[in-house]
């Protein structure tokens, strides 16, 4: 804040109508920036991102130590890591998309509204007035940015660690053909973006939970239970009829990107599922937040 030597008294300001916003920056962008600062400067969230950055490093070291133990039943990409460090990023994503990434998103999104409610800052924002719909739009946008940041961070650190610990070169796809390194990296980037959308979907679920309670821990726990229940159901073959409707079902369905010819069907189904989840749960959050009595 500027240390203005002369503090103008409000009384001396011209009376009358409030000045219209004449700033070059649109007001929603200002609100959004403020929300991003709140999310990314918050010590807990910084710690969360720190943990997310550390895990790929730990996984990388673990892979390095067990480099000779290629296993037949290993998930895709695991056995390729020793040959090409780029695959570490994909192996790390496979490992982290099941728990650590959804957990981080649930913490931030579950806290988004319930945290403000429990601090009592929600009533402050609404009497500004921030606008309930506008507040929700800003909150969800920040969750999406956090999901993107988390996925990019994880993939970025994994790529770095992969480059340092393992040989790097042309990328051999699952179908056996080889593509240039840049092409391989581009595909990894697409996977990171795809995973972000998947995480945004669980973010929408957690955000909806966040509007239903004033206890952030409750919202976070509820969203996590949702994720775990979905993953458990996804692992039960008898429930295969409901698998396509589970939020976690398509989180790993991007391996088609590493085949020739590229098979987009998994990614397409996944995006459709994510968008549906986002639409439904953001709508629930909106219906709830715009009608709720704020008594906290």
């Amino acid at each position: 804040m500027s240390a203005s030597p002369v503090v103008p008294a409000l009384r001396d300001r011209p009376a009358g109508r409030q000045p219209a916003p004449v700033s070059a920056v649109p007001s929603w962008l200002r609100f959004f920036t403020s929300e991003l600062r709140l999310v990314f400067y918050r010590p807990r969230n910084i710690a969360l991102l720190g943990v997310l950055a550390f895990i790929p490093l730990a996984i990388g070291v673990l892979f390095k130590l067990t480099v000779n133990n290629a296993a037949a039943g290993a998930p895709p990409f695991f056995n390729q890591v020793a040959g090409n460090g780029v695959f570490l990023s994909l192996a790390v994503l496979v490992l982290m998309l099941s728990l650590f990434l959804p957990l981080a998103i649930c913490v931030v999104a579950g806290d988004a509204v319930a945290g403000e409610a429990s601090h009592g800052t929600l009533r402050g924002l609404l009497t500004v007035p921030a606008g309930r719909t506008r507040l929700l739009a800003v909150k969800f946008s920040a969750v999406v940015v956090f999901a993107l940041a988390a996925c990019i961070l994880v993939v970025g650190v994994a790529l770095l660690v992969g480059v340092i610990l393992f040989p790097v070169g042309q990328v051999t796809l699952l179908s056996g053909t080889t593509v240039p390194l840049a092409d391989g990296l581009f595909r990894v980037l697409i996977v990171a973006l795809y995973a972000s959308v998947g995480m945004a979907a669980i973010g929408a679920v957690a955000l909806a939970a966040s509007t239903l309670t004033v206890h952030p821990v409750g919202a976070i726990a509820a969203a996590l239970v949702f994720v775990l229940a979905s993953e458990i159901a996804d692992a039960v073959p008898q429930l295969s009829a409901m698998h396509p409707f589970l939020v976690s079902h398509f989180w790993l369905s991007w391996d088609g990107l590493f085949r020739t010819p590229v098979d987009l069907s998994g990614v397409e189904h996944g995006l459709l599922s994510f968008v549906l989840y986002i639409v439904i749960f953001v709508a629930i959050a909106w219906a709830r937040l715009t009608s709720a009595d704020i008594t906290s």
Partner: protein
Amino acid sequence: MSSPASPEEVAFGRSGSHWDAVPLDDAARRSTSAVGPWTETSGAATASSAYAIASSGLTKQFRSGQLAVDGVDLAVPAGCVYGFLGPNGSGKTTTIRMLLGLITPTSGSHAMLGFPMPGGLADALPRVGSLVEGPAFHPHLSGAENLARLDAADRTADRRTVDERIDAALDRVGLLAAADKHYRAYSLGMKQRLAIATSLLRRRELVILDEPTNGLDPQGTREVRALIRKIAADGTTVFVSSHLLAEVEQVCTHVGVMATGKLVFQGTLEQLRGGQPGRVLIRTPQPELAAKILGGLGLAGVQESGNEVSAELGDMRPEEVCERLVLGGVPVAGLETPRRSLEDEFVHLTGEGFDVG
């Protein structure tokens, strides 16, 4: 809790559209609420109204069944300092939450600055500064950052002047020196001051403060009163709630008194003072005789206790009463016309009870 108040309670000076303390019967009250002051201005597109706040039959029943606010007809004239009084749990905060659109009334309607609610919330709220139920901020942000956050949420705020406005608001509440301290390191009084500062971030037409002196030391309480005077001197209407009459009586021009969810009095301070008929109190060794004579004079509310007798004076002069008593053979040892303090008035309106529901 939700049982209807006794007739004396409701009949006492509860007024809808005019500033009188004349007892109204139920039918009259209903008719005044039906043509509450808000009807003149509802639908107006601009913020020009004789009433900064006007409500009609504002009612909130929580899902628990609790009738927290029951048919409140507020009429807060523009430019006044309105003390919104009531004991703990009487529904002050709930009323304020409804005014600000935080909770939806079960029934009733209201307008702020001439904007009918809830449609006019987005137009009215930028002109309204408010503090609801104590300070609430992000603990890991500084005071100034917390204010900046709220200002950033305001789509009508001017970004270019934000630093000066924050400094000015903090300066007005005496927090400028602690502007960059983390909120969690603030003392209770500092937190309260920061909360008041949020309502001063911009020029306001109406400031609603819910118990602004909560947790302040006597010095801080005086400063808040001085601040309220200053805000009011700018032409801003101030609506300040408190459970202590003494705290606001020095600054208020008008008062509304809540008791168990009902607005049991609304009027000017003078009307609150003069609203009750004066009483006469006689000390005499022969109280029975005195009581009989007072009754014979047509005085209401004759009460005897020990060697004291009291009655409502009505329009009779005290010297006249004394003369009649002496003529009737009552040895008058003393005669007083105790003036009820505002505090007594307040307690009379809200009841002595300690239990809250």
